[in-house]
């Protein structure tokens, strides 16, 4: 805290308060005097504060709340990103990662939403399992994405593939899937696989899902054991674990979920340019359009769960200039070749989403209208016999 003068008023207050208590310890007799002495300069600063943020400085320590355990996917992502994001910020601040796991990330985010102040030194890292409960209006959720500003979002893609026992090429497999009931191993119907399950439905696949897998990896094990004939993996796991199966002729890739472009449309996944996307397959069928209710809902869950799966956000009352500095750093990072090279290997070959456009996409993805919410509720009930316990 060397640059007290340049900081916003909240920060200043906090700083003084700490001083107060340490003075108290020195001498109880003078405590009243000290309190007064402490308060006076604060009062003096108050009227000045509107002028003070003409030149807002980035705090020297940033605390990122990661609502997941150490070593999990989101934690690894956050630690990787923290090294890069700070490089492009003035003063190169230190990032402290605070893991607050529990409730599939709901616990930690609730806590952040309640406690974090808008000084700009506290940020939250979220993932699909933070976004979905908010969209589904889970009873435990006490946070709102509207309370935060997006700094950056990182996408991931995914591929659906099938056992070659269903057919040697994707056309014959797709045909078979429309007529034959096939098993799919998933975690929960309301988790990351939800848009994939919706996609199966929209393409007319007859799927009987088996839930309770602890990870997508377990789903892949069930596929390799021959217990299920259809599976889905996200990009990095697909590349290292499914590609060998395809080379060995045991699996056939069917389609990717695609990737969202700047205008919010789904196009081919840059990692799998030769694979059609789900959207292509869906829209190619007669009578289907982008305006279908189902497609719109799929798009929202795809956007918040895949195209913007992992996000870094900051409370929205943060000083606008500070926010601009963070966003500028994210923009610089998104085009940094050194970052892109390392990111491709460690978090996937996708471009970061930054700036106002990304924020707008987030906002539209997170908003489910009453009828859309009701549609999801009905779909979960009819297709998966799940009663959505929402607010």
């Amino acid at each position: 805290m060397s640059n007290t003068l340049g900081l916003s008023k909240h920060r200043n207050l906090k700083h003084r308060n700490v001083k107060c208590t340490s003075f108290k310890r020195m001498s109880l007799k003078h405590s009243l005097k000290t309190v007064l002495a402490c308060l006076l300069p604060v009062m003096g600063v108050l009227p000045l504060s509107s002028v003070a943020h003409a030149n807002v400085e980035v705090p020297d320590t940033l605390t990122w709340t990661v609502p997941f355990g150490v070593g999990g996917g989101t934690d690894v992502w956050a630690r990787f990103m923290s090294n890069w994001v700070t490089q492009d910020l003035p003063g190169q601040p230190t990032v402290v990662i605070d893991n607050v796991p529990g409730g599939g990330s709901i616990t930690g985010v609730n806590l952040f939403s309640k406690r974090a102040d808008a000084d700009g030194d506290e940020m939250i890292v979220t993932s699909a399992s933070t976004q979905y409960p908010a969209m589904l209006r889970d009873r435990r959720v006490r946070y709102h994405y509207a309370d935060w500003e997006l700094i950056l979002a990182a996408p991931t893609g995914g591929v659906v593939y099938a056992s070659s026992s269903l057919g040697q090429d994707s056309d014959s497999v797709l045909k078979k899937l429309a007529s034959e009931e096939v098993k799919f191993a998933g975690q929960t119907p309301t988790g990351l696989e939800m848009p994939v399950l919706m996609a199966f439905d929209m393409l007319g696949f007859k799927i009987s899902p088996v839930f309770g897998m602890k990870s997508r990896g377990e789903g892949r094990l069930a596929f390799e054991r021959g217990e299920v004939a259809l599976d889905f993996q996200t990009t990095s796991a697909y590349k290292s674990n499914v590609t060998p199966l395809i080379e060995a002729g045991q699996a056939v890739p069917l389609f990717s979920l695609g990737m969202m472009n700047e205008d919010g449309h789904i196009e081919r996944d840059p990692s799998f340019p030769d694979l059609p996307t789900f959207s292509e397959l869906y829209l190619a069928q007669s009578g289907h359009s982008r305006n279908d209710e189902a497609y719109q809902i799929f798009h929202k869950f795809f956007a918040s769960g895949y195209a913007m799966q992992k996000m870094l956000l900051v409370p929205k009352d943060v000083d606008p200039q500070l926010l601009e500095q963070y966003r500028q750093a994210a923009r610089t990072l998104a085009d940094d070749p050194a970052f892109l090279k390392e990111a491709e290997q460690k978090i996937g070959p996708y471009k970061l989403m930054v700036g106002q456009k990304a924020a707008a996409h987030l906002q539209s993805a997170m908003q489910l209208s009453e009828t859309q919410h009701e549609w999801v509720k009905q779909w979960l009930m009819e297709r998966h016999h799940i009663r959505l316990q929402s607010r």
Binding site: T21, G71, V76, R79, S240, P244
Partner: protein
């Protein structure tokens, strides 16, 4: 392949690699010894260093950490009866009674030597096995996993101590508690009373601490002795006895290590059943099992040789499939991802050298870690001599500290107190606490794998060759010792009678009945009925399991009552008022901590306890409290931990200005 093996060996023994590994080992021992921390906390400590390090060296550090976590937690299990992590639950059963008998050094030495052997055997098996493991891992479907969980559950029969139905009732209650939270098949929430904390279910560490550690503390507080009740003179000698014990039971070590490394390779099961299976195996195969649970060294050797081997075995699914086989393996997987290594088939093709570096680092770290613990065993065992009145506040604070790390919620403490009450009642009425824990630990697996196998395979699930083989093994495990004993008994009748437990004890275990029994039976009946009521509206797949568990409990309760009525009960006194008084004190401590903050409460509690209850000098009390303060605040700043804050903490802690 031999080339790869040798070059990996060469890499493991380079000085830099060794140094990094030793850093990992020290971290692992530190987080292993302090209950409640475990692998995740260790990872959090190492992560900042791992980042950007050469993958080979980073792996060494990671392996050092991963290998010694199931070793270090033995200290707390044996010395204080605190199950430090899931790998050391069964060790508590005989390790702590041995410490009470004044044989802590013996128990620790045996435990560490078996850990060392288990780890090395596991690594040797792994060297060859990893190349051919893929088909085996794939052969284990949910059906086989379900039957293995069943095998774990049958251990209840072995551990229920004289009264089978009390055992199954305890297990049923454990299954019910384990079913709290989301149903795996439907995602519906069950029995959560609308409390946010219960949505995730109660964490294992909280249940372990509550059921095992708290009742022991209460008893020791009331008896006001030291942990070692007798045999102070023998404390030092235990070291060589412990080593001899392991050599005497070398085949047990080898077999348990074998079981451990094989069960470890099965993803999704590993850590939670392996120590119970091997403990049951040791008990069943012993000629005279009467001392198990009261301090039989084999009860320490078996799970300890298995859990380090299991950590090796757990590398197979982690490396080959990217699916972690245990909690520790999950931590390791996170480390791999951070290093940019994506596990998969390539680990035995292009990256085979990396895989062998991992395996040999694991073996070496086991040797170094267990060796270090062996040296420490003797001096640390002296702790059991310290009068408990001095140690009690420290252990109480340690338990609170450990429980709170489980999910950093005040709910952890309330759950700890509740389970602790069950533990106290169970202990005073002679009900099987392991049976409860087994039920709790295996509930999610039993439920999940049963649904999955039924959905994947239908009724044919139970006709799969793997399932039949395991079922055959279960039967064999149960009947072979019985047959063997029958033969022995026919040959030398009088020996067998001598070895049998004294009839008096036996009769009391099966026919004694007291006020606490009545209370527990009523409580279990009420809880099961409430559970049935709570899940009545759920989907069939969501309520089937808790319904089954409630019925198991209810039927067992009725059977206990019926049995007692038929065979005649013997009224016994079960004094618990004092114990319940101590528990009330514990709840008050929780309440005050929640209100004014953990750190200040802990310090005031320690100070007050030493001055007014232990009646120590002010100087001693001050130093003791200072020690606790250094520990708590040191942990907070080094590990970036959180404690519940409150009115007083908010005022006092900024003064110390560590935060």
């Amino acid at each position: 392949m031999i080339d790869t093996l040798l070059s990996s060996l060469g890499h493991v023994f380079t000085l830099t690699h060794l140094l990094f590994m030793i850093v990992g080992i020290f971290t692992g021992l530190l987080v292993g010894i302090i209950p409640g921390l475990g692998g995740i906390a260790g990872m959090a400590l190492l992560l900042p260093f791992l980042y950007g390090l050469d993958p080979g060296y980073a792996l060494g550090m990671l392996m050092g950490l991963v290998a010694v976590i199931p070793t270090g937690d033995t200290f707390a299990s044996v010395l204080m009866g605190i199950p430090g992590s899931s790998a050391s639950q069964a060790t508590v059963l005989d390790g702590f009674p041995l410490a009470r008998k004044g044989q802590a050094a013996r128990a620790l030495t045996s435990a560490f030597l078996s850990s060392l052997c288990g780890g090395v055997i596991g690594a040797i098996i792994l060297t060859g096995f990893i190349l051919i493991a893929r088909p085996l891992v794939l052969a284990f479907s949910s059906a086989e996993l379900f039957v293995l969980t069943l095998l774990g559950l049958t251990m209840v029969a072995v551990l229920s101590g004289g009264n089978l139905f009390k055992g199954t009732a305890a297990c049923g209650l454990g299954l019910l508690v384990g079913a709290i939270g989301a149903a795996p098949a439907t995602g519906e929430y069950r029995m959560n009373l609308d409390i946010d904390y219960l949505y995730d279910g109660i964490p294992l560490i909280v249940v372990g601490l509550g059921i095992f550690a708290l009742p022991e503390i209460v008893e020791l507080l009331l008896s006001r002795g030291s942990i070692a009740k007798d045999g102070h003179a023998h404390l030092g000698k235990g070291w060589s006895t412990g080593i001899k014990d392991v050599f005497k039971n070398k085949w047990l070590v080898a077999r348990c290590a074998g079981i451990g490394s094989l069960v470890g390779t099965i993803p999704g099961l590993a850590g939670s059943v392996v120590d119970w299976i091997t403990y049951g195996f040791a008990l069943k195969s012993a000629k005279d099992p009467s001392q198990f649970g009261k301090g039989d060294i084999r009860g320490v050797i078996a799970p300890e040789s298995a859990n380090n081997a299991c950590a090796c075995g757990a590398m197979v699914p982690t490396l080959l499939f990217g699916v972690p086989g245990s909690g520790t393996a999950a931590v390791f997987l996170g480390g791999l991802l951070l290093l940019g290594l994506e596990p998969g088939v390539s680990m035995i093709t292009t990256h085979l050298d990396m895989t062998y570096t991992i395996i040999w680092s694991l073996a070496l770290a086991n040797i170094l870690g267990a060796g270090l613990c062996l040296v420490l065993a003797r001096p640390v065992a002296q702790l059991t001599r310290v009068p408990f009145a001095i140690l009690a506040p420290a252990i109480t604070i340690l338990i609170l500290f450990a429980a709170y790390q489980a999910s950093r919620s005040l709910g952890d403490w309330v759950a700890l107190g509740m389970i602790g009450m069950i533990g106290v009642l169970f202990k005073s009425a002679g009900w099987s606490r392991p049976a409860f824990l087994i039920g709790f630990v295996l509930a999610p697996g039993a439920e999940n794998y049963f649904y999955q196998s039924m959905q994947f395979h239908g009724a044919e699930a139970f006709l799969r060759p793997g399932v039949l083989i395991i079922l055959g093994l279960i039967l064999l495990a149960f009947f072979l010792p019985v047959i063997r004993k029958a033969i022995i008994r026919r040959d030398q009748t009088h020996d067998a009678i001598e070895a049998a437990p004294s009839p008096q004890e036996d009769v009391l275990a099966s026919r004694g009945f007291g006020g606490i029994d009545a209370l527990l039976l009523t409580m279990m009946a009420v809880v099961s009925l409430w559970a049935l009521y709570d899940v009545r509206d759920l989907m069939p797949l969501g309520k089937a399991f808790p319904t089954l568990a409630a019925f198991i409990t209810l039927v067992s309760v009725i059977a206990v009552i019926f049995n007692g009525w038929r065979r005649g009960m013997i009224r016994v006194q079960q004094p618990t008022f004092k114990a319940l008084g101590v528990m009330l004190g514990f709840f008050i401590l929780i309440g005050v901590s929640a209100l004014q903050g953990f750190v200040t409460t802990a310090l005031l509690f320690c100070l007050g306890f030493q001055l007014f209850i232990a009646r120590k000098s002010a100087k001693f009390a001050g130093l003791f409290t200072l020690g606790v303060a250094v520990f708590l605040l040191g942990m907070q700043s080094v590990m970036n931990l959180h404690y519940p804050t409150g009115l007083l903490d908010d005022v006092v802690l900024p003064m110390i200005s560590l935060r």
